[in-house]
């Protein structure tokens, strides 16, 4: 008999063999769940509506819902959760009762009301069976609680289901609890007959036949023992009371005399399994797996623009009714607009306060309440200061509970004067004043610039401002329901509107808002719409892809792209509208677009919550929702985790003097004791060092930014060498290969963890960083030869965070090169709270340093002691 493997290490074989061992019906259920989820991705048939368990819709005709609802899910998280929860229980149940029984029970008339119950009834049976070993009073209370718990869940939750269903569930419950499930399930003889007829055993893989039913239990999580023979005594214990006990004794006798044969067969199976587990090729697999994951992730992304994967946009908030109203902004209002334009042109070049004085007088003339706000931000030695002017149009019949915001910055992001936007905003407010239908206040905010001003105003509106930098607001209204920013600097007539929607840190407005603007501009006004500076968008694959990639890049950088960006962090959906191109549309058309949008927002009963907040737009009317695109980032993040696990396992295996596992099978796989403190120390050190660049580049004044960055680049280039020198030579006991494995394992685990949680906040950033850092997975194996070491280190240096920033600096020549980029980053950090730099310096950089250390590491000679 081969020496059994130890249980000391977690090894991937367990999971793997568990998955391989999943019985048929469990697989079917999982497959169905996934299938339904995938079905849910398409739009032409709403699976949820069809299959979800909606109590109001439960009738006799729709009883099928009772069987289908467990397959229906809201999103990917839901799917994962459900599968996590369902698999082990279902697997055990089927292993116990056989596929046919499970099938019969789970899709019987009882349907849903049996589902959960039986999964837990199994627990009850087990506890009952093993009662002899468990002396807890006569009524084994724990056995009973769980089944009853879920039983009542079921009866509680299907209020309109027939009482019969509950009753049968109850009966089944107790029968099962006592282990007489056979009376309810189809009799064994019939099952066996069916099997004999169909010869399912031979046909279907993973089929659990009636005969194979293993009453033995596995660990709470899968252990790896191949399907276990039952302990006869145990199995029959609950059945002693049944008339078949005599027969059982006979069986025992029968077993005894055929012990030898069974034993041999069993050994065969075991050795087979063990051989599989010990196969060293398994350990070679993970790198390829993670490589595969990265590739699949990228390919997945590239597939998205196809029609099969992206969906057409639609309005899901019924209250919006975009484009349903006739707009009256025209006629003599244009004369007023011209007059205001004269006034504004006269103001160009004046100081911020003079401008505000004039505009305030106009707004007061319209009859609005106005107020001002001063702000001063400090970033990189710069003082960004100004004065906001805002006016509130109080809803005639409403009270100040809700408000919509119209933002017109004096200068847009490109520092052009908003020559048409400001007059248009004034005229619109004067026009809105005449309507009595507003249910929400309308606030006009006029800011000196497009980034700091709106930020200061929104912060102060929600009292999230720092009083030393930003003054509070003397005048307030209700909860902000939405915001539209006008960026209308061009003098000539236009033919399309450019919708800017990226918020700070990759946050996005509710898709319904963008859709309604598109709907109103195109459907009602006949104005073209463009996204992400795709001035001409032929709905081709390339255009969709580039739109999507541009959007992802913007989100990844996480900078504020316009006056609207500052609103997103406060859950206020906002977009900026920029006319562009040359056509025949004039300011009044733009005004009508805004009027229509405001009327739609005014219709809202609830805060926008229906549609999507995570999406990628590929054109004005196609998008992908998070459920579809998240896997690509998650796969990239998972590739790190896989390697981490693999390295952990590998670090647990002893190594020969030459440092490579031998391939012969009967090597003792006793696991060596892991020395965790050194690797943990190094990882923690690198993580804590990462504070330095973060602080440096956000607090150094502009003149010192570039030199300090270059100096830091030099340091971070040398740091890995220094560390690895310390690890290999300076310490009296040089680091072993195990140390390097653990080092890499920990840092990759951290990286994967950070990225996967980042993916839920800012998908694009996580994906970008993940792709840039993916070489860390493959390169950093301690290289044998000096040449390999040098090569991989060189590659690492090419792909280092510092190099990335340098390249960005070189690319961004128009914004002042490296210094300009660093300055922008510092401003973004201080003004709009962008945490891209945090991710770069505190997530990517430490992982990179550790990677360098591992690459440079030389395995010291030390015999590892085995347990």
């Amino acid at each position: 008999m081969p020496p059994a493997p130890t249980t000391l290490s977690f090894n991937t074989h367990r999971a793997r063999s568990y998955v391989v061992r999943l019985p048929l019906f469990t697989r079917a259920v999982l497959a169905t769940i996934i299938l339904f989820w995938i079905l849910g991705l398409q739009t032409w048939w709403d699976v949820r509506q069809w299959g979800a368990l909606i109590p109001s819709e439960i009738s006799f005709a729709t009883l099928y819902r009772m069987n289908t609802f467990p397959f229906i899910h809201l999103n990917i998280f839901h799917v994962i959760m459900n599968m996590l929860a369902l698999t082990p229980l279902l697997e055990r149940f089927e292993a116990e009762y056989g596929t046919l029984t499970t099938l019969a029970l789970f899709f019987g008339l009882m349907g849903a009301s049996i589902w959960v119950f039986l999964l837990l009834g199994m627990e009850a049976i087990r506890t009952y069976k093993t009662n002899p070993y468990f002396v807890l009073g006569t009524h084994n209370i724990p056995t009973w609680t769980t089944p009853i718990l879920v039983l009542f869940c079921v009866s509680a939750l299907v209020p309109s289901a027939s009482f019969l269903g509950h009753l049968s569930g109850l009966i089944v419950g107790y029968v099962c609890g006592f282990g007489y499930v056979k009376y309810l399930a189809p009799p064994e003889k019939i099952l066996r007959w069916i099997e004999g007829k169909l010869n399912l055993l031979g046909r279907l893989p993973h089929y659990v036949s009636v005969d194979q039913k293993t009453y033995g239990r596995f660990g709470v999580l899968p252990s790896t023992s191949s399907p276990v023979p039952p302990a006869v005594g145990l199995v029959q214990a609950p059945l002693e009371s049944t008339p078949r006990s005599k027969r059982d004794n006979e069986e025992v006798a029968g077993l005894e005399e055929t012990g030898a044969l069974e034993r041999r067969r069993h050994d065969g199976a075991t050795t087979g399994a063990l051989r599989l587990r010990r196969d060293p090729r398994i350990m070679k697999l993970p790198p390829y797996m993670s490589l595969l994951f990265v590739i699949v992730g990228v390919v997945w992304l590239l597939l998205l623009p196809f029609d099969q994967y992206s969906r057409r946009t639609y309005i899901s908030e019924n209250a919006l009714l975009p484009g349903q109203v006739h707009t009256y902004f025209s006629g003599s209002d244009q004369n007023v607009l011209r007059a205001y334009k004269h006034e504004v042109n006269a103001l160009v070049g004046k100081s911020n306060v003079q401008i505000n004085d004039k505009l305030e007088s106009i707004l007061k003339g319209i009859g609005l309440k106005t107020a001002r706000q001063n702000f001063t931000y400090h970033a990189a030695g710069h003082a960004i200061s100004g004065q906001n002017l805002y006016a509130i149009l109080q809803a005639p019949r409403g009270d100040a509970t809700e408000a919509i915001v119209l933002v017109a910055a004096w200068e847009n992001a490109k520092h052009e004067v908003n020559r048409n936007g400001i007059p248009l905003a004034l005229t619109l407010l004067r026009y809105f004043k005449r309507w009595s239908l507003w249910s929400k206040d309308i606030i006009l905010v006029i800011t000196p610039d497009s980034i700091a001003g709106p930020q200061a105003w929104v912060d102060a509106y929600h009292d999230a401002h720092n009083p030393s930098q930003v003054a509070g607001l003397p005048l307030k209204s209700g909860a902000l329901q939405g915001a539209i920013a006008i960026d209308y600097a061009q003098e000539t007539r236009y033919d399309s509107v450019h919708i800017v929607y990226d918020g700070v840190n990759g946050q996005l407005p509710n898709l319904d808002l963008i859709n309604s603007v598109v709907h109103i501009a195109r459907g009602q006004m006949g104005i073209g719409v463009a996204l992400q500076e795709m001035w001409r968008h032929t709905d081709s694959y390339q255009d969709r892809l580039s739109t999507m990639l541009r959007g992802m890049l913007k989100q990844g950088l996480g900078l504020a792209s316009g006056p609207h960006s500052s609103f997103m962090p406060y859950h206020v959906d906002a977009v900026t509208l920029q006319p562009f191109g040359s056509g025949w549309h004039d300011e009044m058309a733009m005004g009508r677009v805004i009027e229509g949008t405001f009327r739609s927002l005014n219709n809202l009963l609830e805060h926008l919550h229906q549609s999507f907040f995570f999406y990628l737009l590929m054109s004005r009317d196609r998008f992908v929702s998070i459920g579809t695109y998240l896997p690509s980032a998650m796969l990239v993040a998972a590739s790190f985790t896989i390697m981490a696990i693999a390295l952990w396992v590998k670090s647990g295996q002893p190594e020969k003097e030459d440092g490579k596992e031998s391939d012969d099978k009967d090597v003792s796989t006793a696991v060596v004791e892991r020395d965790l403190f050194l690797p943990l120390g190094v990882v923690i050190l690198c993580q804590s060092l990462s504070i330095i660049p973060l602080y440096l580049f956000n607090h150094a004044s502009e003149t010192f930014l570039t030199p300090s960055f270059l100096f830091f680049t030099l340091l971070s280039t040398l740091l890995p060498h220094a560390l690895s020198f310390y690890l290999t030579s300076a310490r009296n006991t040089p680091a072993t290969a195990q140390h390097y494995h653990l080092l890499k394992s920990f840092s990759l685990l951290l990286l994967g963890m950070f990225l996967s949680s980042l993916a839920t906040l800012n998908f694009s950033l996580s994906l970008i960083i993940g792709l840039l850092a993916s070489p860390l997975t493959f390169l950093c194996y301690p290289a044998k030869t000096a040449l390999g070491r040098a090569l991989s280190m060189g590659l690492l240096h090419v792909l280092s965070p510092t190099t990335a920033v340098l390249l960005v600096g070189l690319a961004a020549t128009q914004s002042g090169g490296l210094g300009g980029v660093l300055l922008e980053a510092a401003k973004a950090w201080h003004v709009s709270g962008t945490w891209t730099s945090l991710v770069v310096w505190c997530v990517w950089w430490p992982a990179w340093i550790v990677g360098g250390v591992v690459v440079l590491g030389r395995v010291g000679e030390r015999k590892v002691k085995t347990l």
Partner: protein, 425 residues
């Protein structure tokens, strides 16, 4: 003698270090304490410091703090904290009190570790017991555990419960049943659930009681212990009655834990369950959940009779998952006791998975909570899913530790099985 001095010096250094760390955080990052106090992972309705301040305010203004929906904590906190200077004006003493409580817990933990009860109890001696960490290491892991630090900085009142429980165990280990029972009574007075620890602590105290003045008969002993606990709790409740002048504090403190009337989110499994529960079944499931929480005590005590400390550890782990209002401070208490079982840690099968799961939850939990509450782009299911995973990860840890302990026992009778693949039937 000399060694004693050394350990003393090291202890002083350790405690000083921990205290300095906490006080430094308090003084250097003045915004952090209030931020942490607001986190649902740290302060629950029954332990929140902000609610304590509110209760204190009402108490000092002669409004009964229990005639309202905010304050659900033990009445004796009120005089204690009203003795201290007001937190708004002079926070140092309050912070210092919390630091001291942490250090006391660490000290109790140190005692427990030094007693070696984990490795060698009255009925069982582990063959691996040589491989253990000193009290220094264990106290350090507790004091510098981020969860513990966060709880202390967040000034959640659960640190008092933690301290009381640890002292109960320490007293029991050092053969002082009365002290143990007193501490336990105090803990259960503060937050009820420690009462479930009575059986294992009685067992522990019974095993470790001083041979000179020992009560041999288990019945007598248990009777004595139970009456002690009952009397002390009664005394505490009586004092509370005299303090508040009415019994309404019972409903406002223990009643809230029993009926979960405050559904503020936390890291546990109860809140979302009872948000989504149909009203007609609420009481039934409350009963079932409490039953489920208490049903572990008997089983563990019976099965792992020979190692009561292990039972206590596992129970604390289970409470940290299935309490009505759990927080990371309960987890930190559990994680404080786990290192006592250094010798069986190698027998655990999923240590890496557990670590990974817990770390993932630590990162994803706040992210998802932010998406739900502030960004508004996610819904409640996000955070609920994470609490579910968090619970599963912890239960995995509990099960795995239990497996390791039991296997350690089993290998005493089957020495040849050391390092072999085994299974359970």
């Amino acid at each position: 003698m000399d060694g004693g001095k050394v350990t003393l010096g090291r202890a002083a250094g350790l405690y000083a270090g921990a205290a300095v760390l906490r006080l430094a955080i308090f003084s250097l990052l003045p915004a952090l304490p209030d931020l942490l106090t607001g986190r649902v992972e740290i302060s629950t309705p029954v332990t929140s410091f902000k609610r304590l301040q509110e209760g204190l305010f009402l108490y000092n203004h002669n409004v009964s703090p229990y005639d309202g929906g905010v304050y659900h904590q033990a009445p004796l906190f009120l005089p204690l904290f009203s003795l201290l200077p007001s937190y708004a004006t002079f926070p140092f003493l309050t912070n210092f009190l919390y630091v001291i409580v942490d250090l006391l817990s660490a000290n109790a933990l140190w005692k427990i570790a030094e007693s070696g009860e984990a490795g060698a109890s009255a009925h069982f001696t582990s063959p691996r017991r040589e491989k253990r960490w000193s009290g220094f290491v264990i106290a350090a892991t507790f004091l510098f555990n981020p969860f513990t630090v966060a709880t202390c900085i967040g000034r959640s009142t659960s640190v008092f419960t933690t301290c009381a429980i640890l002292h109960a165990v320490a007293k029991a280990v050092s053969g002082a049943p009365f002290g143990a029972m007193a501490a336990l009574a105090f803990a259960s007075y503060l937050s009820m659930y420690p009462l479930l620890l009575l059986p294992p602590i009685m067992l522990l105290a019974y095993d470790r009681q001083n041979p000179t003045r020992a009560i041999r008969s288990p019945l007598k002993f248990s009777l004595a212990c139970t009456t002690t606990v009952a009397l002390i709790s009664a005394a505490l409740l009586g004092m509370s009655y005299l303090l508040t002048g009415s019994w309404e504090f019972l409903a406002a403190t223990y009643g809230v834990q029993l009926t979960l009337s405050d559904l503020t989110p936390n890291v546990g499994l109860w809140w979302y369950f009872f948000i989504e529960m149909f009203d007609s079944f609420r009481s039934f499931f409350l009963a079932v959940f409490w039953l489920h929480l208490s049903c572990y005590v008997g089983g563990l005590c019976v099965r792992i009779r020979s190692q009561p400390l292990a039972v206590i550890t596992l129970l604390l782990g289970i409470f940290a998952i299935f309490k009505p209002y759990p927080s990371i401070s309960d987890t930190s208490l559990f994680l404080a006791l786990v290192p006592l079982y250094r010798h069986v840690l190698p027998l655990m099968r999923y240590s890496f998975v557990i670590a990974a799961v817990i770390l993932y939850c630590v990162l994803l939990g706040p992210a998802f909570y932010h998406l739900w509450i502030y960004a508004g782009s996610g819904n409640a299911n996000f955070f609920y899913a994470i609490t579910l995973v968090w619970g599963l990860g912890q239960s995995l840890l509990v099960c795995d530790l239990m497996f390791a302990v039991l296997r350690d026992e089993w290998e005493v009778e089957r020495p040849e099985m050391v390092g072999k693949e085994i299974r359970q039937i």
